[in-house]
Amino acid sequence: MLDTRPADPSKFIQGRTGPWEVILGLEVHAQVASKSKLFSGAAVGFGAGPNEQVSLVDAAMPGMLPVLNRYCVEQAVKTGLGLRAQINRRSRFDRKNYFYPDLPQGYQISQFEFPIVGEGVVEVERDDGATFEVRIERLHLEQDAGKLIHDLSPSESYVDLNRAGTALMEIVSKPDMRSSEEAAAYVKMLRTILIYLGTCDGDLEKGNLRADVNVSVRRPGEGLGTRCEIKNVNSFRFIQEAIEHEARRQIEILEDGGRILQETRLYDPNKRETRSMRSKEEAHDYRYFPDPDLLPLELEQAWIDEIKASLPELPDDKRRRFMGDYGLSAYDAGVLIADQAKADYFEAAAKGRDAKLVANWVTNELSARLTAGDLEINESPVPATYVAELVDLLGEGVISSKIAKEVFEHVWNGEGSPRAVVEKRGLKQVTDTGAIEKAIDEIIAANPGQVAAVKEKPQAVGWFVGQVMKATGGKANPAAVNEILKSKLGI
């Protein structure tokens, strides 16, 4: 496969015999946020009693026929458009054949040869604000399997088919990632896009988004090595850990003169190692063939256009717009767009005022308090209009930035709008030079020693500024204080 990324030595892993490059490709399974299943009218959801959300289609009773869920098709198309990918107007469902107790049909309905979505691209942002591209190979629709419970009996497994038949979008990337951090950043970006689009809720804890990671290593500059696939990793931390442990394992084998066997492995977070899933090996002959119960899926161009017109602004477009229109740094823009609601909140407050300052308040003071209180942005006790008002007060010179923090604290505690708090608590900045001069005169008169010192060492004026602020309860305008002090002290 075409290797589009130049080697980056800073990402190499050092082995005993020299550096190695890690090559990563991901298959992400995203559960479609639908009410009912891909091919049946049984409910999709979390927490129902065993086999409560199972139709006779899901249980694979003889004679039952699958009927495609239009909404799921729409979500796949929407996601494809969000990945800037080719939408295939004609696609097909195939049977992937294998036996396992969580799969009553004996096959999974999937799309093999003709997926609904073809090649696309995702722009991923790294922590340092730089971006890189991950090419998408394809996206296809398929059924999820049921769930096995092993701890209810020592000799038997219990089967719950509630999840069986739930619609999944399998999103396959090309091997475009070169470190565990990049892989995690890609999944985060993908998750953000899915949440923006509303096609998947992105809940990793519930398993609604999970990743299979393909890992291989090579000497820099050489051809691709043999890969191993780590199945079903369901947290950002585990994705990184699994990759690091698997890359190390492969490097050790190769440095000992061994050979990598292409196989499926599982990551065990407790033992912090990957191990082979031998039982899956011989099942790898899936004997795909077109599902005779389903006709080809054809999409009207008008429907695709309609879905396209309904797309929200995508995260990377939003990031570029925030940087261009509001002059935000890549970092601030990245922090804001990672959460659609936070981005909206920022925009509501930023329109027509100092946007950078608004971004600072949203990403620092507000975000810190929200995190501490375990609150989402839409649960914030401080509405966007109050952040806007606070920034206006700063712009108008009514309060200093130090006082602004105090005002924010009171606003957070429910004392009303920033203007009301400033009014009620008398926090208005003193710009009345007469009052400031009076305070300065008093301080100069009381501290002749300091006055002599500051003439020798003008930097010591800071001490005077501090005293004036103390005398005025922090409300004196710092610029005015500086100016008056300098003229009175003759420095």
Binding site: E52, S153, L161, E298
Partner: protein, 95 residues
């Protein structure tokens, strides 16, 4: 396309159909007969004809995303050889 004994053994295993060794040879012969019969289709000139996966020239119907089934674990489990607490129960399978 000729089907040999090894292929029959492999396909039987993948399909979980118990097949005694003695049956493999005769099955291979039968399957080869079926394949030869199918290969007669090769006589038809299909150049430029798109392959069909069904004999109905129409596309798949779709349904709306509404919940119309479920909530009847008793019925779902009614044919299960073994069940408990609304679960199917099978011999232990562990990775």
């Amino acid at each position: 396309m000729a089907i040999d004994v090894d292929t029959v053994r492999r396909v039987a295993h993948l399909a979980r159909i118990a097949t005694p060794e003695a049956r493999l040879e005769p099955l291979a012969a039968e399957l080869n007969g079926i394949m030869q019969w199918i290969e007669q289709l090769g006589e038809v000139d299909t150049d430029g004809v798109e392959p069909m996966t069904s004999c109905v020239a129409t596309t798949t119907p779709m349904r709306d995303d509404v919940v119309t089934a479920g909530g009847e674990p008793g019925r779902v489990l009614s044919n299960a050889p073994k069940s408990a607490d609304n679960f199917f129960v099978v011999p232990k399978v562990v990775e």
